[in-house]
């Protein structure tokens, strides 16, 4: 169905990117994620369907959205990144997040490239087409969730509160120990982590570092994939480190720059979530609109009932508001360093909340059948619910965002 783009300056190339990504989302991602939604998480990552879908995404370069074309990435401009993220998530927010977060190690390496990182991390990842190299963002811990993202707040510098994964310098290496929690997206299938860890406990959570950690080295172990209510095709799981050693060149950021780069990370991640949950809300709205025109109730199509019409217009308004805010936030923050973190958080909070409301309305419009798996409304609703918690719980993120007002 698509939507009318209010940006009258879209180029033919951007229109084409939108069309092609939508086609992929509709023909590949949506059907795969609906099928995988019925499986347990172990079966998902053992299935050919999951891996074939990932491979198709990799072949089209969707794992390299943020990486410049010099390295072999898609080299999309900020607006194009938004268009792609919305379309991918329209098809499946599970796969959109999985493909999007996969680039984190290489994306950050491309911000601070050295010969070793270029040769061992960035170029192989960009050239990868069989999803045999997968990245993850290892930040969340069993005792630390959204508080890991609260750079700049007084609690962040409290030395009595420190991260659980710690790294100690030993000659030309860093030695890493500790645990990341089950909420790490791509956690149990990732080959590399962009790992946020503590290197100076005296500085509290602010004494962090950011490292690229290959997950096939001695001392790394993974947990079981998480069984959750929504986004079931998105693999998530724990990662354990027991004296795992990485070369010093793989530590990208130390405590001096940690808070600033964490802000940049959150600005990118939350703005991307805004874009993706615009796609989730739109998917539910479009499906409900189609259904309301076909389904006869009380002698006329649902759409002809005033209350349904009113609800659909409210859903339409929310989707358009999501796109306006999330595009503006993503484009601004991918064009400015330092970013304005409050806008990325506003985008994430607003769009995930709106997606929950719109998907809930879609279930309501479909009536009883909306609760069944005959239509994807109930999956959209479950997927949207997870959005209020992942990449930071909305309530806590708002406190972090408010700190910048």
């Amino acid at each position: 169905m698509g939507y009318i783009d209010l940006d009258i300056h879209l180029t033919p190339e951007q229109e084409s990117i939108k069309r092609e990504t939508h086609k992929f989302a509709k023909e590949v991602l949506r059907p795969a994620s609906l099928e995988l939604d019925k499986m347990d998480p172990e079966s998902v990552i053992k299935s050919d369907l999951f891996w074939n879908t990932m491979k198709k995404g990799y072949k089209l370069g969707y794992h390299t959205i943020f990486i410049p074309d010099d390295w072999g990435g898609l080299g999309l401009d900020p607006l194009e990144s938004h268009i792609v993220l919305e379309e991918l998530a329209w098809g499946s927010v599970d796969f959109a997040i999985g493909l999007g977060v996969s680039c984190f190690p290489s994306f950050f390496a491309s911000m601070m490239p050295n010969e070793k990182l270029i040769e061992e991390i960035i170029e192989p990842f960009c050239a990868n087409t069989d999803a045999s190299l997968i990245g993850c963002w290892g930040i969340t811990e069993p005792d630390h969730g959204t508080d890991t993202l609260a750079a700049g707040t007084p609690e962040f510098c409290d030395p009595s509160i420190t991260g659980q994964v710690k790294a100690v310098r030993d000659g030309d290496e860093w030695v890493i120990s500790g645990q990341k929690s089950a909420w790490v997206s791509n956690g149990t299938i990732a080959t590399h982590s962009l790992l946020y860890l503590n290197i100076d406990p005296g500085m509290g959570m602010a004494g962090g570092g950011i490292a690229i950690v290959p997950l096939n080295i001695p001392g790394v172990r993974k947990g079981a994939p998480l069984d959750k209510m929504g986004q079931r095709a998105l693999n998530q799981g724990e990662i354990f480190f027991d004296n795992a050693r990485i070369p010093a060149e793989y530590m990208l950021v130390d405590q001096e720059a940690y808070e600033g780069i964490l802000d940049l990370t959150l600005a990118t991640a939350n703005a991307s979530m805004g874009a993706m949950f615009t796609g989730v809300a739109r998917a539910a709205y479009e499906m409900a609109l189609d259904y309301s025109r076909e389904r006869i109730q009380g002698g006329k199509p649902l759409f002809e009932h005033q209350l349904i019409k009113h609800k659909l217009f409210s859903m339409f308004t929310k989707v358009e508001a999501c796109r306006s805010l999330s595009r503006a936030a993503l484009v601004y923050n991918l064009c400015n360093s330092p970013p304005l973190i409050q806008y990325s958080i506003a985008s994430k909070v607003f769009c995930t909340q709106a997606a929950l409301e719109v998907t809930n309305d879609a279930v309501q419009i479909l009536g009883g059948i909306g609760l069944t798996k005959e239509y994807p409304a109930e999956k959209f609703f479950r997927d949207a619910r997870a959005g209020l918690l992942e990449d930071g719980a909305n309530d806590s993120l708002m406190l972090t965002g408010a700190h910048s007002l």
């Binding site: 943020f66 401009d77 720059a257 808070e259």
Partner: protein, 129 residues
């Protein structure tokens, strides 16, 4: 005291650095292929340095719209080229502010490699090291 004693001196030193960069065939080819206009908007001393595919290296105002603007002080600039200030620290501590699509900013980084190599000798020549 600022590393660059005047805008003119800064133009002389950094202009020489960027001209050396543009003499490097690999860097030049990458720059032309990227097709971006870069403005280094420098404070203390105040000045502008441009890299443009059409105009080459320009010290001072230029009537162009930059694709990427890097705003930083003269001292940060010196420390950046001597590797005393890394890009992540500079960005995180707001000593360098960038404006322009991140994909273009990231394209810029590998192009600058020959300048890193050339700067210590230039800085020494001018008594800055």
């Amino acid at each position: 005291m600022a590393v660059f004693e005047s805008t003119e001196k800064m133009y002389e030193i950094l202009g020489s650095l960027f001209n050396k960069l543009m003499e490097d065939q690999v860097a030049l080819e990458k720059f032309l292929a990227a097709n971006i206009i870069v403005l280094f908007d420098i404070t203390e001393p105040k000045g502008q340095l441009w890299l443009s595919p059409e105009d080459g290296v320009v010290c001072g105002p230029l009537d162009r719209t930059p694709t990427v603007t890097m705003t930083l002080s003269g001292d940060s600039c010196h420390k950046f080229w001597t590797k005393e200030l890394s890009m992540p620290v500079a960005m995180a501590t707001r000593k360098i502010k960038s404006k322009g699509p991140i994909s273009k900013v990231l394209k810029l980084l590998p192009m600058l490699k020959p300048a890193y190599e050339a700067y210590p000798a230039i800085a020494k020549e001018y008594g800055l090291l």
